[in-house]
């Protein structure tokens, strides 16, 4: 098979410039006044210059990850935010106008509760459905793919998701078990057996549920679209848009679970590696198409199972990094800027992950040592991070400011840095958030 995504193609540079230009133009945004448009362009420019590493931006862009903080700040429960889109909109506008970060994050992760209900989602608990109304949704980790099913996944990932994984995680889609194998539908005699399941009541009702979920999502999407338009029109670009996963995490988080995937390293090493390779082109496509839908250039890629402690350096290099690197190259090739969010700490990975083209990605760290990161991966990539969430939740403003000062000193020199939090700010004290953003904006001048 042809070896793909080993290095970026010659067109990557030009494509990235074009995408930045489109983002910067703010075309189609209903700016309230010229100053808002000016502020928007200024902020996108800060991000662009921080990312490209060609020259330091005028000052460090300040882009904390709001997480669910705006909801709690507006006095809403998580339930209200997931079920009442007007309230969600108010919360988001209020967060942006009160704190004025250099970029906001679309509330697209505050997914519509009624969609989850229609699908009868089994792999998450959400407010009012397994967790309290004031609590965030949480993932229910299980083996949704059995160890003996690797080959099925490798042979046909899409078919596996459709007729094995979906029936397990969506109660309403259980009848998808009976879906026909699609490449088997080719000549005329193949049509009747392929069509028959669609005539049966179980699959018909599953499809109705799916349409119901879709309809609710369309309503929600329109609301989120309005929120985004109105926030951007005030001069705040979005920090990211689009989403994809490292192939190892898709297997480890979603299909096999932590215990499953980490024991597969010993029990099924070859299948695990092959499955990662097999899923890579699909994860590249998912990144590209979700960016297209979001109208953004920075797909968010949360990284989980490759963190320090989860595996050895050798295991990281063997099982985690090869397919992640291909995913990155595949996205960079299209001119996109992967936003690699390394949860936990990545102190042992800094050397390996520096093997990337210059100025093409953002490495967003949670608990990694930023001084060390600046010395290593900071030479080839823009860094983002990493005010600790625990400090924002339990510390005082003066402690927060102290930390911010040290962080800017460690990671902020010569550009290539986006000031942010180590994680989504749910649970943070508002006075700490304010102190952090104000200090960073004021003291993030270059030089």
């Amino acid at each position: 098979m042809k070896e793909r995504w080993t290095q970026v193609g010659p067109e990557a540079e030009e494509r990235q410039e074009q995408r930045f230009a489109a983002w910067l133009s703010g075309e189609g945004l209903p700016f309230s006044r010229d100053e808002a448009k000016e502020a928007y362009r200024e902020r996108v420019t800060l991000l662009k210059e921080a990312i490209q590493l060609k020259k330091p931006p005028r000052r460090i862009p300040v882009c904390p990850s709001p997480g669910f903080f705006p909801i709690q700040y507006a006095g809403l429960t998580m339930y209200q935010a997931m079920y009442d889109y007007d309230k969600l909109a108010q919360a988001w506008r209020r967060y942006c106008s009160d704190f004025a970060p250099d970029a906001y994050t679309s509330p697209s992760t505050i997914v519509p509760g009624r969609m989850l209900e229609a699908l009868d989602v089994l792999f998450y608990r959400w407010p009012g459905h397994g967790v309290g109304e004031d609590q965030e949704y949480q993932y229910v980790e299980k083996e949704y793919m059995l160890p003996g099913e690797y080959q099925n996944l490798i042979d046909d990932p899409t078919g596996f998701f459709l007729s094995t994984f979906f029936p397990r995680v969506f109660g309403s889609l259980k009848p998808f078990e009976g879906l026909p194998l699609l490449p088997g539908v080719n000549e005329i005699p193949c049509l009747p057996p392929a069509m028959a399941p669609f005539g049966r009541p179980e699959l018909r009702s599953a499809l109705e549920k799916l349409m119901e979920a879709g309809q609710e999502t369309v309503t929600w999407l329109a609301a989120v679209g309005r929120i985004n338009q109105s926030v951007m029109a005030q001069g705040f670009p979005s920090f990211s848009g689009g989403f994809t996963k490292a192939p190892f995490d898709l297997i480890g988080d979603t299909l096999r679970g932590t215990r499953g995937v980490l024991t597969d390293i010993f029990r099924r090493p070859d299948e695990l590696k092959e499955a990662c390779q097999r899923l890579t082109p699909l994860m590249i496509k998912a990144g590209i198409s979700s960016c297209r839908a979001a109208g953004h250039i920075m797909p968010f890629i949360p990284l989980h199972k490759g963190a320090d402690g989860f595996m050895s350096d050798q295991q990281f290099r063997t099982f985690y990094w090869p397919s992640l690197r291909k995913l990155i190259i595949g996205l960079v090739d299209q001119g996109l800027v992967p936003l690699l969010f390394a949860e936990g700490s990545y102190n042992r990975r800094l050397e390996v992950i520096s093997d990337l083209p210059q100025g093409k990605v953002v490495w967003w760290f949670d608990q990694t040592d930023m001084e060390e990161a600046k010395r290593t991966v900071g030479r080839v990539a823009c860094l983002a991070g990493n005010v600790p969430l625990a400090l924002l939740c339990t510390g005082r403003p003066d402690q927060v400011v102290d930390h911010c000062r040290k962080l800017i000193r460690a990671a902020g020199r010569d550009g290539g840095f986006i000031f942010s939090t180590g994680a989504g700010m749910q649970g943070a004290r508002p006075e700490n958030v304010k102190a952090m953003i104000d200090f960073a904006k004021e003291h993030g001048g270059s030089g």
Binding site: Q135, V140, T258, R259, T263, L389, G427
Partner: protein, 211 residues
Amino acid sequence: MPPDLVEAIAGMREEEAKALAQEALEAGKDPLEVLEQCREAMELVGRWFEEGKYFLPELIMAGEMLKTISKMAEPYLKQGSGPSSERIGRVVIGSVAGDIHDIGKDMVAFLLEVNGFQVHDLGVDVDPQRFVEAVKEFQPQVVGLSALLSTVLGAMKETVAALVEAGVRDRVKIMVGGSAVDEGVAKFAGADGYGKDAVAAVSLAKGWVRG
């Protein structure tokens, strides 16, 4: 006794370890000796984990091998003759109310057991009151509270407060840990210590039971 069983387990050679244990048991070796070898292997794995040679995958694999071999040995054990290795202390552990994550907490529990503690694992989403009851019932020297979510730090604090309220706070040392936790959170919650990882948690607990 197959002297290689310790090596096979600690070396992550699962099939070999299972075969060796099966062979030994079928040959009429003392099942307690087989289990003792498992314990030795766990100690090795724990030490290598502490030294940064082993990581989560090895810890989980070792746990799985221990479980399998213990089950294999069960029918060979005489009634009431289970392993009676001495325990150095008791720990009550759980993920606090509102948090359903268990991986980190499980690792700490596992490593504590390997290091000779008797661990009462209350599971996830544990109400403060259940911690209080467990402390009264099991009389641990140490209580471990785990949190991955930043939104349950308040619940962590409430758990400590509930132990104070019930008048049992002074009987125990409380350690906190998890991805959302740091030194500052320990102070905020009113705990006695923060463990950065499972190794740190074990050394905290050991320090406390030794007095």
